[in-house]
């Protein structure tokens, strides 16, 4: 198939440490851009879900930057790795990371949630070639990812399927149907990552519907389980590699994250889940906290829609 990526974490074990460090730096920069772009897009849209975009930015950057065998010129390759954003409301982060890695224009992707723009509030497969399925209804993306993993195995493809779920999403029974099914079918080409930011739409998971002991649940459903700091890029990269090497069972990575990560006034505050309207002042403060320079902030926020 000729799928070969210049440098990926897949090779990192054999590469020297300097290469890995370079990769981590690259992904870190991608994550920073992802957060900035997502904030700007939500600002322009006048609505959207910033909290869960911030918590997942490092995971997405690590996936797109180093783990997925997926890059812009192979989005139609049958043997590409698949990524499904099961927590579809995290769309702004997906669009942003895709923009960073050249799947689309960063400028175009700021037209979030606008009529006529392919960047809908939730990712839609018919709008964007690198979106693998439409999501937004929690639980479904995971099942679709499972179907992909099953289908790829049937077709003897080496491709892997990755999917990112929210923690609140785990309350959907469909998730446990899929979990049981993936284990039963030994789908070791399936890797689920949980953006475990401890918050959902309205409040903390604990207050809404407690998930703990979470790792025990996945173990009892017969998955290989890893727990990581979801903001530690090199730990993420190592864990993805370990998951890829796990035979006979699907893998879940419980990534402990902070909702709103990087934007101090959002961190751990349920109200920033969505659908919120960001003021210009809030957007500027967020971008500054995310390391954007004055001119970058202007570039991001100045009106581009007419």
């Amino acid at each position: 198939m000729g799928l070969a990526k210049p440098i990926t974490a897949k090779d990192a074990d054999e590469e020297d440490k300097a290469t890995l460090e370079g990769l981590v730096a690259d992904v870190t920069a991608a994550a920073r851009f992802t957060r900035q772009h997502a904030i700007a897009a939500i600002y322009h849209a006048g609505s959207g879900h910033p909290g869960g975009a911030m918590s997942s930015a490092d995971i997405l950057a690590a996936l797109f930057g180093a783990e997925l065998n997926l890059w812009p010129d192979i989005v139609n390759d049958a043997h590409r790795d698949r990524f499904v954003l099961s927590k579809g409301h995290g769309a702004p982060a997906l669009y942003a990371v895709a923009a960073h890695y050249g799947f689309c224009s960063p400028r175009a992707a700021l037209a979030l949630r606008k009529l006529g723009s392919p960047y809908q509030g939730h990712p839609h497969v018919l709008d964007l070639p690198w979106v693998e399925t439409s999501t937004g209804s929690l639980g479904q993306g995971f099942s679709v990812a499972l179907g992909m993993a099953m289908g790829l195995k049937l077709q003897k493809s080496q491709a892997r399927v990755y999917t990112l779920l929210g923690d609140g999403e785990l309350q959907e029974g469909e998730v446990w149907e899929a979990a049981m099914c993936a284990a039963h079918h030994n789908l070791d080409n399936l890797c689920a990552i949980i953006d475990y930011n401890k918050l959902q739409s309205d409040n903390r998971n604990d207050a809404i519907m407690r998930l703990e002991p979470l790792a025990a649940k996945w173990r009892a459903f017969d998955w290989a389980v890893a727990e990581v700091d979801g903001h530690d890029i090199s730990e993420l990269l190592r864990t993805f590699r370990r998951a890829a090497a796990t035979a006979g069972r699907p893998s879940v990575i419980i990534a402990h994250t902070v909702k709103g990560k990087g934007v101090p006034y959002m961190e751990n505050i349920p109200a920033w889940h969505g659908s919120v309207k960001l003021t210009r002042e809030q957007a500027e403060e967020a971008l500054a906290a995310l390391g954007a320079q004055r001119d970058e902030i202007r570039e991001f926020l100045d009106d581009r829609n007419g």
């Binding site: 849209a45 006048g46 609505s47 959207g48 579809g88 979030l112 949630r113 606008k114 009529l115 006529g116 723009s117 960047y119 809908q120 509030g121 939730h122 839609h124 439409s134 999501t135 937004g136 209804s137 929690l138 609140g168 999403e169 309350q171 959907e172 029974g173 959902q200 739409s201 309205d202 207050a207 809404i208 519907m209 101090p264 006034y265 109200a271 920033w272 659908s275 919120v276 309207k277 960001l278 003021t279 002042e281 809030q282 500027e284 403060e285 967020a286």
Partner: protein, 326 residues
């Protein structure tokens, strides 16, 4: 002062949306209906029931993001004598159709389902979130009453009527700010359509947010000397067949308007009722069997052909077909 100090602005939950009107009415009615309990699947702020929670935290039941369990559990709550109101977005009600069918309707429970965020009115969340199928799905469930009030005042009245009514009810609210259409002497009644504008050339039958658009269309038509009657069909099931028959006789042409797929919803209910009594030309305004998209509700209404000009155009077509058997 930094932005930190400011609370995020919740979108669309203005005091004038149908969901807010519902949420406030529900909270206000709690005293009168001591058995009332409200079920939420982690979107209380979206459905409007945060008002109820604030006033009656002990009667607010959190089910997490698990609509199937919530829907069926309502059957159990009703079975032990409580009056459960299940709340979520319309599209997620579609996830629990079978639960509503078996554990609420087949069992004839006195339980209510209130769905916010129906149709294109959802706006920027996009096509995946815009339920265009819910009226059809719930209308087909035997014994399920289906409501879709049109303005905040009527929503408050319908909330009371729904609680007073004995049996399973599915009611649509709405996300976006809704126009005030009615004044205090308006009176909602389950099963009754209402003529909200007199007219003799054609009848525009609408529900929910489309009533305002139908009234707007009637204004346009008046300029062309077309005298359009407007019916607010806030009860979609059981449909007010008597009123429809009268309108068909008196105006000879019908237009239906709904923020829903053209198949199976209000248009279907009206077509069924009239075919069984007074067949006349009907034109259907609704989303033409496609999914929605992100955008502002008014833009989407325009784009997908359910705004006032489309209703007016449909009226002209319906009138032109009168008496032609075509």
């Amino acid at each position: 002062m930094t932005a930190t100090a400011e609370a995020p602005a919740l979108i669309g939950s203005s005091g004038d949306s149908l969901r807010e009107a519902f949420g406030k009415a529900l909270a206000a009615l709690a005293g009168e209906f001591p058995k009332l309990v409200v079920l939420d699947a982690d979107i209380a702020g979206g459905t409007g029931v945060h008002h109820f929670r604030a006033a009656h935290p002990d009667r607010f039941l959190q089910f997490g993001i698990a609509e199937q369990n919530m829907m069926a559990a309502a059957g159990g709550l009703a079975a032990v004598g409580l009056l459960p109101v299940v709340t979520t977005f319309a599209v997620f009600c579609l996830r629990a159709v079978e639960q509503a069918r078996l554990s609420l309707a087949y069992t004839r429970r006195n339980a209510k389902i209130v769905a916010s965020h129906p149709g294109l009115d959802v706006g920027p969340d996009g096509g995946s979130a815009q339920a265009l199928e819910d009226i059809a799905a719930f209308r087909a469930i035997p014994g399920m009453t289906v409501l879709s009030p049109a303005d905040p005042l009527e929503m408050a009245q319908a909330t009371r009527a729904m609680l007073e009514f004995d049996g399973p009810v599915y009611m649509r609210t709405g996300r976006s700010p809704a126009k005030r259409l009615f004044d205090e002497d308006h009176k909602f009644e389950i099963g009754k359509g209402q003529i909200v504008r007199k007219g003799k050339d054609v009848t525009l039958v609408a529900c929910g947010v489309e009533v305002a658009r139908a009234l707007e269309a009637a204004e346009h038509l008046a300029e062309e000397k077309i005298d359009a009657r407007v019916v607010n069909m806030a009860t979609i099931k059981p449909i007010d067949a008597g009123l429809l028959a009268r309108c068909a006789r008196e105006t000879g042409a019908i237009v239906t308007a709904e923020d829903h797929n053209i198949f199976g919803g209000l248009g279907g209910a009206v077509a069924e009722a009239l075919a069984a009594s007074n067949p006349v030309p009907i034109e259907f305004v609704g989303v033409k069997d496609t999914f929605g998209a992100s955008g502002e509700p008014e833009e989407l209404a325009e784009h997908f052909g359910i705004s006032a000009p489309f209703i007016a155009e449909a009226a002209r077509r319906a009138i032109a077909r009168k008496g032609k058997g075509k």
